[in-house]
Subunit: 235 residues, 2 copies
DNA sequence: CACGGTCTTTGAGCTAACGCAAATCCAGCG
DNA sequence: CGCTGGATTTGCGTTAGCTCAAAGACCGTG
């Protein structure tokens, strides 16, 4: 099982490594293709593998206390799934599902841990990734704790535009299938409220929604709405 | 500036270190006493120090988008403040305030980074701490995204009991001054709703509240209420 | 012991958001 | 080309939780 070491070169995690070290990583990896809606792993299952997203999007969700599951984050190409669990044993504490066809690079955690031990330059990078993830999580916590639903949705969309925006003639499209259900699970609300909010913005020309797709027509207006103190979503 | 190396022995972060290494850490540290309500550092300020709580409680908060600030977590003895920021430069992204008289162990980030480089056993421990913090943050995110306010408060209290519960004749006291304002900032609600909820539980004999203090009288009932699907807080 | 400031309680009204039900729309498939 | 199942829209009633206002309770201090 070997993939192109150059694939790893572009990732900031691996940028400090020598070509030789990158090759060692590449030699130990295997590729896993995923179909849309296929589960990568589920909550509780013992974590025997570390996955890196090469293409597609993976949603990381957890079973909320009541209601539907909550989406903790959406992993984009170049991001790891549950990096924290790769360093010490235990079960996954989230469920990972492919939102669309995707491809993962997979290391067995045993091999991965050995590699991390042997390559001292890696650990600081991993710590930095963890810190980044923690910082993101805290940001989203503040959002959900202090903003009303429409603004939370706006923030979520802006983040997705940054991470997965593809420019089109009519605006910027979020470049993977995203249902309003998902958007609700991402912002801690219901799909009904999401639908109402989006159609309202659609009427105002901010957006164009479709079946599992969102096209942002007026990014500045959306950004403004996300931060404005007074503005409301109502027509 | 030198403190007792034994002080560091009890902490799991430092448990893998040799006595000599612990001494190196202890030699580089300085102590900082804090009065109640004193700020340790504020959001944005360049992070030049890494702090470890020796005694007291420190609240880590962030300015919410609207409303009041949001409390991200409360740091207890043995926990670091903003560990992530100690590894790479940048400003603090939270504000740290002492909830009561406290004492911190402080390293300059420069020295700290040098020590981390020199003691290879440390980095994995730090990564594990970061992972722990991330996992906690995700747990609280799920809570706030999927539970109603009373249950969020119950969960917060249970967590605080675990972290700072002191047994008393009448029950378990949360062993540091905690205002209802703080409790509200911790659970993403208002102090009014917190007050109503607590007084309701007080009537039911679950709690005894006071000025900046909470005494849990019936822990099982509180735990039950936190997870129950149906029960309500109303009398 | 009176004072001032902080913290808490309580009331009243209001609205954002939920929950349910039902209609509608759409993509893929046979 | 019509079926089917998922996704979205919309209406309507309800309520949890917010906001504002004001009154109490408590603590430390002068």
């Amino acid at each position: 099982m070997s993939i192109d070491p150059d694939l790893l070169r572009g990732l900031s995690v691996f940028s400090a490594l020598s070509n030789e070290e990158r090759r060692a990583l590449a030699d130990a990896v295997s590729l896993r293709p995923l179909r849309a809606n296929e589960a990568v792993f589920v909550h509780g299952q013992p974590a025997t593998e570390l996955c890196l997203v090469l293409s597609g999007r993976i949603k990381l969700s957890k079973a909320g206390w009541a209601r539907d599951p909550v989406i903790l984050r959406i992993a984009h190409p170049g991001e790891f799934l549950e990096l924290g669990r790769s360093l010490r044993p235990g079960g996954y504490d989230v469920t990972a599902t492919a939102l669309c066809g995707a491809e993962l690079a997979v290391w067995s955690t045993q091999v991965w841990r050995r590699l991390v031990d042997e390559i001292p330059a890696m650990m600081p990078c991993l710590a930095q990734l963890l810190e980044q993830e923690l910082s993101d999580a805290q940001g989203r916590f503040v959002e959900i704790a202090s903003l009303d639903v429409p603004r939370r949705i706006a923030h979520a969309l802006l983040r997705l535009v940054n991470q997965a925006g593809r420019k089109e003639a009519a605006g910027i499209r979020i470049d993977f299938p995203l249902s309003q259900q998902d958007l609700a699970a991402l912002t801690g609300t219901t799909l009904f409220t999401v639908s109402r909010t989006l159609t309202c913005w659609e009427r105002r020309g901010l957006l164009a929604g479709g079946r599992r797709t969102v096209l942002v027509r007026d990014l500045p207006a959306l950004a403004n709405l996300a931060t404005a103190t007074e503005a409301n979503c109502r027509v």
